[in-house]
């Protein structure tokens, strides 16, 4: 994908997570290379979302380590993870429904803003300059994701497919190094899926953002990812190129065979 040799951006090493009697993740290790699009697949309840939640700091693993850009950050809180350059979207859209699309995306910039309460309140001097700079960045994202027409629309009034796109925009506003997408195409029609695929590829290509996504639509996974990891019952059962994973017997048994793809 990228001309430089891919290096390990994120190293997940022997992660285990247990909810009561349920072993959600069992000794999962995964290496995400810089600049790639990795898809995490698996049947329902395989632990995909738990893995994303561990990476983004929502859950802390019972065992194992996570290294991001070479540093251990297994036990960081979500906001610290975000500050490191990891942004995410949610399986069920989590936008501020009463706020405009523009304001929603601006919240993605919060971590980049250096505030002084007084200056912000007066909207004066550096505060104003900073606001304009962030607004300009957000406008680039609006243009990139082609959502100019809904800039001022309250997010809650948008159809689902567009809400997903706005969520992606908010995640991009944080200028992440690693973008985690939890089922970005769930509930979309074919056309919306195609659009979303194009945006994901473009984000990866234009900004060089590394992307880890969870997706059920196997044709989408095979089309856009460079690297696929398959989970089943909390264990990683395969890891490789899309072609390798598609032909892996364990994967076929666990997942593909069931859904007749």
């Amino acid at each position: 994908m990228s001309p430089a040799a891919p290096s390990g951006l994120l190293e997940v090493d022997g992660i285990s997570v247990r909810f009561g009697a349920v072993q959600a993740l069992d000794q999962v290790s995964l290496s995400v290379r810089r600049g790639e699009i990795i898809a995490i697949i698996g049947p329902n309840g395989a632990g995909k979302t738990t893995l994303l939640n561990v990476i983004s700091g929502f859950y802390h693993p019972a065992a194992g380590h996570i290294r991001f850009e070479g540093r251990d950050r297994t036990h960081l809180a979500p906001y610290d993870v975000a500050a490191l350059g990891i942004a995410r979207t949610f399986q069920n859209v989590a936008l501020f429904k009463g706020m405009s699309v523009l304001d929603n995306i601006m919240t993605g910039r919060l971590l980049k803003m250096k505030g002084s309460f007084l200056l912000d309140a007066l909207y004066w001097g550096p505060a104003k300059a900073q606001e304009l700079e962030h607004r300009a960045f957000v406008e680039r994202i609006i243009d990139f994701l082609e959502i100019q027409a809904i800039r001022k629309t309250p997010a809650g009034r948008l159809p689902y497919g567009l809400q997903k796109r706005v969520e992606l925009a908010r995640a991009l506003a944080a200028e992440p190094t690693l973008l985690l997408l939890d089922e970005p195409m769930a509930g979309m029609n074919v056309e919306e899926k195609e659009d979303m695929c194009r945006f994901i590829l473009d984000v990866n290509g234009e900004f060089g953002t590394t992307i880890a996504l969870i997706e059920h639509d196997m044709s989408v996974v095979m089309d856009i990812s460079d690297h696929v990891a398959a989970l089943d019952y909390g264990r990683k059962i395969a890891d490789g190129t899309p072609a390798e994973v598609r032909n892996d017997q364990a994967v076929i048994d666990a997942y593909l065979g069931v859904s007749h793809v």
Partner: protein, 646 residues
Amino acid sequence: MLNPGDDTFPKLALRNAQRLPNKVAIREKDLGIWQAYDWTAYAEQARLTALGLAALGFARGDKTAIVGDNRPRLYWAMLATQALGGVPVPLYQDSIEKEMQYIVAHAEARFAVVEDQEQVDKLLQVRAQCPGLEYIIYGDARGMRHYRESSLLSLDDLQARGRKFADEHPGYFDQEVGKGAADDLAIILYTSGTTGQPKGAMLSHRNLMATARNAIAQEGLTSAEEVLAYLPMAWAGDHMFSYAQSLVTGFTTNCPESADTVLHDLREIGPTYFFAPPRIWENILTSVMIRIDDASWIKRRMVHFLLDVARRVEERRRSGRPVPIGDRLLHALGRVLAYGPLRDNLGMRRIRIAYTAGEAISPELLGFYRSLGVNVKQVYGMTESSALISIQKDGDVKLDTVGTPLPEVEVRIDPSGEVMYRGPGVFLGYHKNPEATAETLEGGWVHSGDAGVFDRDGHLRIIDRARDLGRLADGTIFPPKYLENKLKFSPFIREAVCVGGDRAFVAALVNIDLGSVGNWAERRGIAYTSYTDLAQKPEVYELVRQEVARVNRSLLDEGPLAGAQIRRFLLLHKELDPDDQEITRTRKVRRGFVAQKYAALIDALYSGADHVKVEAQVTYEDGRTGTVRAELRIRDAEAFAAGMAR
């Protein structure tokens, strides 16, 4: 009339850069902000683009295909091409590959300047069939990092090459612009014919400039106008309004952010000069009405009341009758409370002149905007006439004509009923298509393909496509579609089919509108069981009879059409339906099919009978077929003798 200093569009751009250096020439909403370019920047951008093309070996006479939404960079690419003695060929941005291939190959375009990846992809697909196409130049690089085609470069790259070329060839640009002359080919605009391949109408600088100037003089346009460029660049109208007239007067063209934001951008810009086809006028009205109906009861009542006042006042003014004092006071109140705020809300507060054209607009729709104080007028024109033939003059507006011919334009009605015109805007011919040229262009006169009549006041009225025009047995002109449209302007009539070719008189098969006629019947306590039952009520016949009389009376004012009044009609037992192949999916009557299917009904209309039995196959939604039997009444319509109008 044209002096050699400014007889081509590139010369005009240079003149504007000198005379109006800091006047805004074009704006584009980009990243949420309106970016403005003055005439100095406009000319400079075109110059750099031209020099870049020259660096790639652009020769005089070369063609540049231009594809994309309305963008300043694409207008500059047009100007750049013309500056080098080349010919821009704009294409519709939603063309599919096959259409694009035909035009690029037929025009023998050597260069293409396009907006983005979408258009690049289409051109790359058809390259093999377009051997003449050497370079594809794009504005927006997004998504094309991995494209390795050597013939592909960005506009920024092109301009960088232009800068270098300028250093090596000082004076080249001015020299090339100086070589241009008024009668050079300025542009080829391909028109999508309803049949066969598109034809490329060739227009010279003189054609476009003379037409632009005549319209500017008649309409009183100045360099202060603001226009919104949102209709396709490949369409003659946009080329006239956003390019030719802008360059001639120096007024400002505004390019919206995207196709989805047009109505929003309209409001931000507040144009003074605006064009929209009937479809868009209608959409805007619908969105307004929805918002009014969402308002509180009192506001809603007030707005509807004041809109009624406006309609009455406008009608009286138009017909030159005095307005009663009460309405005058209410109208003044309405200006403050309703019309002004509404216009402002629509982005139409500053409009001095607005046009509609393309297809028939309902008088009610046009009347609505005019009564709000938006000066919407009908224009008539086509690509072959440099976009404009006639415009309604200010203060001489009728709701159902296309106005009077522009200065220097002559219009006459051929004995066959076809509108013919000649004037300085008449095109040079179709590119590489002498047969079509010969068919259309005859001794300087152009066959418009439209049938029309002049009314008493010298207004041109377009009634139909010339080839759809029929004749009654005595030779009277019979325009079926025109009569049907007039009938359909009634809220009670959904569809109508007029017959009369080679018959003694015109008769009509009418479909009532179930919604509005049903509503009307309920309010009068008329019970009915089904569509067929409702359609055969004597009261409904009387209702429709009045509508037909209205149409007949209006024809008295229309010269030869007075003889085409509808003498007899019947109400059909079922709605014309695309599933039954009676109308197309776009709701055009399939005349031949209907005439055949309803031959018995048509015969009955001419037999003098007062009813006819019908038995018809219908296709239900689930695909099953069934038979409907009914007895349909036939009624005479009220006809009027010429001379007893109104």
